[in-house]
């Protein structure tokens, strides 16, 4: 094999890179806004919870309710932090995995499908944390988690996992076929 025949990394489609970069930008903006508007966000969430006492199981006794509100506010804050962290991380995951897919997968249809799944799944999954946080004041901890799970985490997470396992299969297949093609001795 000559130098010119050696395989090289292929850049994934531009729209994939754009989505990945946007995901990272959203993470940074979210993280910044979370710190800048911490008091306002907490007040908004607290007011929303106090407006729906039955949703959150508030009993009208401060010693009991403070603990419930505190837990919900901690989870509300955790959701925002997890969005920031996951959007940042998944942006990089999209770039890395779609680069591998663009390079390793020869079949165009399979390559396009896997890259599409990696990109939509990777970009959509972190939004579930944002949705969870936003829904907590209106629907309570458990119900908002269920909504975020079924609308965002399960579909987008499944897309990412399926795409990653297919990619792992393609990488393994590529290794096996190269080993088989190598001349003996």
């Amino acid at each position: 094999m000559t130098e010119s025949d050696a395989p090289t990394w292929r850049v994934p489609p531009r729209w994939v890179l754009l989505v990945a970069v946007l995901s990272i930008v959203a993470a940074e903006v979210g993280g910044g806004a979370m710190a800048r508007f911490k008091v306002e966000l907490t007040r908004w969430a607290r007011d929303g919870m106090l407006a729906r006492p039955s949703v959150h199981g508030l009993v009208g006794v401060r010693d009991v309710d403070e603990r419930i509100l505190d837990e919900a506010l901690v989870k509300f804050d955790a959701g925002l932090r997890l969005f920031h962290m996951h959007a940042e991380g998944m942006g990089l995951v999209i770039i890395a995995t779609s680069t591998v897919a663009a390079t390793v997968i020869g079949n165009a249809a399979a390559r396009r499908t896997i890259i599409a799944l990696l990109t939509t799944g990777g970009a959509g999954y972190p939004v579930g944390y944002l949705a969870w946080s936003a829904l907590i004041p209106s629907y309570g901890l458990e119900r908002s988690k269920t909504i975020a799970e079924w609308l965002v985490w399960v579909p987008f997470g499944t897309a990412t996992i399926v795409a990653l396992w297919c990619l792992a299969g393609f990488v393994a297949w590529s290794m096996i076929s190269r080993r088989g093609a190598r001349p003996a001795g």
């Binding site: 199981g57 006794v61 403070e66 419930i68 505190d70 959701g79 997890l82 996951h86 792992a168």
Partner: protein, 215 residues
């Protein structure tokens, strides 16, 4: 040459989803009153009565005592302040014990009242009971040792009633009876009754633990 990093990236990211989708854990924190109680208690234990007095005078513990004055033995707040000013550790402990016992008793009475309501479902009443039990224990747990050293029977009675109450709010698992809000009322009433008796009997300094005052 390309396959090695490709394998690395793929393995790294395939393993990642297993760690994902966690939503954080909540560890209950002290509220302002229990935090201030601990500050005062530790200052008293370290014999820093001037620090303890300042923390009491400026903290939410005293404000809470004033808020609940109607359901507390008369003069509890002034007596606590005087004991701190006089450097009387056991008296401070006794008065704080009475205060938290009273808070726990009031919560047990309120829990019993809310659980007795028939306009809500059993599940909601069980949930209310569970939340009240958490709040009761958060306060009572702070003074259980002080209660046990003065009235061991009361301490045991409260803990037994609490354990019994917890069995009524535990979620049903295979083969066990479902959570029962009506069964919860009796142990709650017992907690309130035992604590009322304790508050009454502790409201005057015991002759066996004479107050020590700096002279």
């Amino acid at each position: 040459m390309i396959l090695a990093p490709a394998v690395f990236v793929t393995l790294l990211t395939v393993g990642a989803p297993a760690l994902a989708h966690h939503v954080g854990a909540y560890v209950p924190k002290d509220n302002a009153v229990t935090t201030n109680f601990k500050q005062v208690k530790f200052s008293v234990q370290a014999a820093k009565f001037d620090v303890a007095l300042r923390l009491f005078e400026t903290g939410p513990l005293r404000a809470e005592m004033r808020t609940h004055a109607a359901s507390l033995p008369p003069g509890l707040e002034e007596g606590t302040r005087a004991a701190l000013a006089g450097g009387d550790g056991p008296e401070v402990e006794r008065r704080l014990m009475i205060f938290f016992a009273a808070l726990s008793r009031d919560l047990a009475l309120e829990a019993d009242r809310q659980i007795a309501r028939v306009d809500t479902t059993a599940d909601i009443r069980v949930d209310i009971g569970r939340k009240f039990l958490e709040a009761i224990w958060r306060y009572y747990n702070l003074v259980d040792f002080a209660v046990a050293t003065r009235d061991n029977k009361a301490s045991v009675a409260v803990r037994l009633a609490f354990d019994e109450a917890e069995t009524y709010v535990k979620p049903a698992t295979g083969g066990t009876a479902p959570a029962d809000p009506t069964g919860l009322r009796k142990p709650l009433q017992r907690i309130a009754q035992v604590l009322s008796t304790l508050i009454e009997s502790s409201s005057t300094p015991s002759s066996s633990t004479p107050p020590r005052r700096n002279s």
